[in-house]
Amino acid sequence: MAFLEIQRVYKKFGSVYVLSGISLDVELHQVVCLIGASGSGKSTLLRCINALEVIDDGVILLDGDRVSGRGIDVDSLRQEVGIVFQSFNLFPHMSVLDNVTLAPRKVLGTSREEAEATAMGLLGRVGLADKATAFPDRLSGGQQQRVAIVRALAMGPKLMLLDEITSALDPELVAEVLNIVRDLAEEGMTMMLATHEMGFAKEVSSKVCFLDQGVILEEGPPEQIFGDPVEERTRAFLKRIVDAGRL
């Protein structure tokens, strides 16, 4: 039994199916990359996993426990599954430190001292200890995204979902964010990431899934997907990426 099991998940907006029967297993310590054209459903899949979207059919199991559908405790699920968004979404009225400690203090009931000590440790690791008292609008995009990652990590999640976390960044800021993800991967954090950074996907992932029109058209180890894709659609997609100079 895999750590995260996604079984025949369907999701529709209005009458349009955005996910039409997604099945995917993620083992502990694996890094799974979701690639695919814009609108193929990558973000929607990630949002379904931590119940920001309600799925219409299928089931999602985390550690063998059903985490989709009726009667689940979404708040406790979200304590174990962190998500980082493309647009950072830091709380603009709070300092960096408060952004990071809010959830541990209010949700886990951690004392302020303890939460701040943990937060400072994490901020130090991503090179932002000196920004603890700054407000988000004083930070660069890359710094904001690093804070957003730390904010999610502060809850001690078992699974991290990263949704195109470098897409809103200037090219020179991408590396500082990806380095953190690389470190997390090396430490064995289980992660799912939607990304357009194919080079990075190739480097860190244990498994790459190509999403197309709401289904996983092809999945496999990165060498196979990027080197020798089976499906015509995958080839076409990767060719477009290569032509655009992004691989």
Binding site: N50, G82, F135
Partner: protein, 328 residues
């Protein structure tokens, strides 16, 4: 290369060197001669110079003519307006002045003393009502935004409250609450004092307005903030409490305080249920002395509160603007 076709019109050279003389504006501005005459003189000079081919000095004169014409609008209109008011004041043997600005009242210590005592009640009423409104309106706004099917009835009640109390004239609410509750011996509030009724009535009325201000503020917070908070495991209530409401409140402080100016002025209507406020006291003096000068004092007292409040509000808004423009 030197032919002109019918389509290109007159040669461009003729347009160059055109001078604006502002002749019509100068003539119109003669309605206020101190500015109109210089305007006309400059305008005439401008056309003379233009005819002599002195384009640049002509333009200079034209500009001056225009400036004087504007002066006659800005200054002239004000002068005539003030003159008209002074004339009103002294016409009919000064009857207007006597009615509004009777010196025997304006210089009477007793009158001022009584009026200030009355105004202190208005101040108390609006201060207390403002605190109540601040909290009550937020509660109503949050109830109106509660999610889910289960909350539909309570959402509906809140909507009915807001819609109706915004529709009622405030004076009607003051009457109904102030006289009705006591007469009907309504439980709990049946034994309120008149001042307490006044506060209750104004809080109900303004609570409805201000709740809409809060609601707009809450709805203006982008949903991604909620997504971020919920994804960290915060509950709906915690998300509202720590993420949405603090941001919303910051945003709505200026419009909210704007409504408070209305509330402060509307304390004048509580006199209808017999509260001895500033307006009631002005009425007593009016009845006893046959002059409206006490009402002028009341008006002045409201000015003394509202104008500093308005300036403070503008300052607050400016500072906020600076902040959002220049970062924090």
């Amino acid at each position: 290369m030197n032919h002109t076709s019918a389509l290109t019109g007159p040669p461009a050279a003729k347009r160059v060197g055109r001078v604006l003389t502002y002749r019509k504006a100068a003539i119109a501005s003669l309605f206020f001669p101190p500015a109109g005459i210089p305007a006309l003189i400059h305008s005439i000079k401008a056309s003379r110079l233009a005819e002599q081919g002195e384009t640049e000095p002509a333009r200079e004169q034209g500009e001056k003519a225009r400036d004087w014409a504007w002066y006659s609008v800005g200054v002239g209109l004000s002068v005539y307006l003030v003159a008209f008011m002074v004339w009103l004041l002294f016409t009919n043997g000064g009857s207007v002045r006597k009615v509004f600005l009777d010196w025997s009242i304006l210089t009477s210590w007793d009158a001022w003393h009584s009026m200030l005592k009355g105004f202190w009640i208005n101040v108390q009423v609006f201060l207390i009502a403002e605190v109540i409104v601040l909290i009550w309106a937020l509660v109503v706004a949050i109830v109106r935004l509660l999610p889910g099917k289960a909350c539909r009835p309570i959402r509906f009640l809140a909507t009915v409250y807001v819609d109706t109390f915004r529709a009622f004239p405030a004076i009607l609410v003051v009457y109904l609450v102030g006289l009705g509750f006591a007469q009907a011996k309504v439980p709990i509030v049946g034994s309120f004092s008149d001042i307490q009724y006044a506060i209750l009535a104004l809080s109900l009325t303004y609570g409805a307005y201000v709740s809409e201000v809060y609601r707009a503020g809450i709805e203006s917070i982008h949903w991604s903030q909620v997504a971020a908070a919920r994804s960290l495991g915060l509950s709906y209530t915690q998300t509202m409490r720590h993420v949405v409401v603090p941001q919303a409140v910051r945003r709505v402080i200026p419009p909210l305080l704007n409504d408070f100016i209305g509330l402060q002025k509307d304390t004048a209507i509580i006199s209808v249920i017999g509260v001895l406020d500033v307006v009631s006291r002005a009425r007593f003096i009016n009845n006893a002395r046959g002059t409206l000068a006490a009402y002028s004092i009341a008006a002045f007292l409201f000015l003394c509160v509202t104008i500093p409040f308005t300036r403070w509000l503008e300052w607050l808004q400016r500072r906020r603007q600076l902040r959002t423009e220049g970062g924090r």
